[in-house]
Symmetry: C2
DNA sequence: AAATCGTCTGGAAAGTTAACAGACAGGAGC
DNA sequence: GCTCCTGTCTGTTAACTTTCCAGACGATTT
């Protein structure tokens, strides 16, 4: 901890004002006073200073009350732009926004199966930038959300068998070269968690976990309002967790050493469904049929809930979070029925009575999360706002990320 | 985030000075200047102000060099006192320290098995206080380290079957009444982790886990340099983790659903030892015999390592920490041999190559950890120092962070 | 007439730079 | 071996800068 001169006060107050303007839209001077706690002259001086520095712009007048119309102020969005990308095996979905958070344009494009993914990606980003009247090197930062996790040591994408074209090289590094701007790659479930924290079910909690039971089980861990990435980017990669199969129906799983992912793979869930007399082609299909099938389906649901809950129990035992959110196809298909079954099983396995809820997935959670993450990085770079304060999460830390 | 007037600067700078004095022992004015970055007159004024407020005291002179002998300053320890207690089923071990961290006195006393634990505890603390010339109500804070975890909702001690006399009531509340001072109860493994972070193997990392394989398996989780307690105080209570028994020797465990604690209980380890032709009465005894027995013992050690590693793997999958420390009787008895076997097994179970080390347990880790914890609380209440900053491992907190 | 906006003036609080007086160790000169 | 000078360090004082606050004033709108 270091001491500071009056100059430090300036910085603190400027940042407080910028943060208030970003968070609460256009404000009059007197509203800003109330929010940051400065006096009238100090606030006026601050605004004119930020205006001459181009940090802040006039944004219309507010009338209606007595007295003269008050000047409205907001942060100059044109200071910097960012891109948020949702990358799946089939498509890229891109949004370009300015630093105020306003989305300028959107663009969606298909992705090739394996070869030429990089080229397709770069051209899609180029097109989106074009629509916004920019070049990709004018972007301050790009956040890409995708399955898997980037190892901070070498930049390689791991845990992502569904994105075969992207493995074996320094993914953020290559993208940075091609786009001529700073890029970070973030796990998609992490971004969903971010979005749940900003605008979903987790706005009121600081420690929670999003669990994504699917063909590749993933989880996002948020501790103290900060996304946990892990030393090698592998936090929340619970697919490989060794857990026993506690399902009542015997499906020939190796009861002494299956992984969580194996027990929740499409193949394995279909097998379990068959053992209960249900035919399905994938996990969420099986869940949907079971829900429709009535009592017979109920037993399958209980067995599935047992499998899901056993993994959730491991997370609860280690972290004891305030809240667990279930997300993904299977959880969505199972709805509150499955959610409640898992909650009941969980209660038998661990002491803490951690509430379990369905994620509040509306719209495009991965892309929105990427947008928030990119904004946090941009605001830290441009305004020196600590990301943890701007939004209750940290931007991704990647080699070559802006300082 | 709020703005601040010059008064805020005073607070920031005072706290910076106090923190520097606490951390770096007695300092001359010019040394303090260098540490906190203030000018000579400002530092001198600051010191005289803190001296008249009794916050800081003169502490001898430093001579030797050219020029006049420089005045040495340090924080006034007599401002407040704290107690640190290591509570086990058999004994209490108490240390009384002042707010500068200097230990004034120590006291150790036996504990009754079940009845009258509260009375014995209070009288031991009273005796320790007496030795230091204090009454217990003059203590600013008391931290008690013990097995188990206190549920923040009702104050009851859970996960602590070895402390039967302490369950079923609001433990910190009752102690607070009896001692007439503020009391907090902390899990013993958590305090070991704190101590490892302050002065052990984990000084350079911010995310690590201490695992305590024993009759009651515990773990402490540190994320971002902060101890994770969990929503109901149960973070790290991995005793109930459901894991498969991967040991090669068959000991009739329920392979489809044992808990981590069952697999590492004294009884279970002895059974495993017997299956390998070793007789022992408890876990660390078995390990010691196995180490002495040569090759035959080696197979037992591998099986034990498999059991330990399976639970460690769950922690790694969820958190991907920078470091895992093994502590407790069994880990100590097994030494680097067991540590390396567990590390090898772990590498086969999870992707991250998390380093595994033995905790650097010297002296009284639980009591020292409790002392650091109590000091952090005292320094926060007396000086307004954020506890996370007091500890030497956190990055600086941004000035003007929300109050 | 009342309330509100924006600006201006004077003053308080905090820190910085610069200069000065005094103290002490070390070496030069005798 | 003794004396005295010099350089360096401590601690204090004074003048100036930066930043914010309280209050007053004119202008504007309902």
């Amino acid at each position: 901890m270091r001491a500071g001169s009056p100059r430090l006060l300036r910085e603190i107050n400027d940042r407080a004002a910028i943060e208030a303007l970003l968070r609460n839209g256009p404000l009059t001077r007197s509203e800003l006073e109330g929010l940051i706690g400065l006096s009238k002259p100090a606030t006026a001086q601050l605004l004119t200073r930020l205006e001459t520095a181009d940090t802040v712009v006039r944004n219309g007048l507010r009338g209606g009350g007595r007295g003269p119309r008050a000047q409205l102020w907001s942060v100059n969005g044109a200071l910097a732009h960012i891109a948020a990308v949702d990358l799946t095996p089939e498509t890229v979905d891109i949004a370009i926004a300015d630093i105020s958070g306003a989305v300028l344009t959107e663009h969606k494009a298909p992705m090739p199966a394996k070869h030429g993914v990089l080229e397709a990606f770069v051209s899609a980003v180029g097109k989106a930038c074009g629509q916004a009247g920019l070049h990709s090197d004018q972007l301050l930062h790009v956040v890409v959300g995708c399955p898997g996790a980037v190892n901070p040591a070498n930049g390689e994408l791991a845990y992502a068998p569904h994105l075969p074209g992207w493995s074996g090289f320094d993914m953020p590094g290559r993208l940075r070269e091609q786009l001529a701007t700073s890029v970070s790659v973030e796990n998609d479930v992490n971004l969903v968690a971010l979005e749940e924290m900003v605008a979903g079910r987790a706005t009121e909690v600081s420690d929670f976990v999003v669990i994504w039971p699917a063909d590749l089980v993933g989880a996002a861990v948020v501790i103290n309002g900060v996304l946990l990435r892990g030393a090698s980017g592998g936090a929340g990669e619970i697919d490989g967790l060794m857990i026993p199969d506690r399902a009542a129906a015997d499906t020939d799983t190796d009861r002494s050493g299956g992984t969580y992912g194996e027990l929740l793979s499409n193949a394995s869930i279909c097998k379990l469904a068959r053992a209960h007399g249900l035919a399905a082609r994938n996990g969420h299909g099986a869940v949907r049929k079971a829900l429709a099938a009535g009592p017979a389906g109920g037993e399958f649901m209980v067995d599935l809930a047992k499998r899901i809950a056993t993994g959730v129990a491991s997370v609860v035992a280690v972290l004891d979070p305030e809240l667990i959110l279930l997300s993904g196809d299977i959880a969505q298909a199972g709805g509150t029925t499955l959610n409640d079954l898992v909650a009941a099983e969980l209660r038998q396995l661990v002491v803490p009575r951690t509430p379990l809820q369905l994620a509040l997935v509306t719209g495009k959670p991965v892309r929105s999360g990427a947008l928030h993450s990119a904004l946090a990085v941009a605001r830290e770079t441009v305004f020196g706002l600590p990301a943890a304060t701007t939004a209750p999460f940290r931007g991704p830390v990647v080699a070559g990320s802006p300082r």
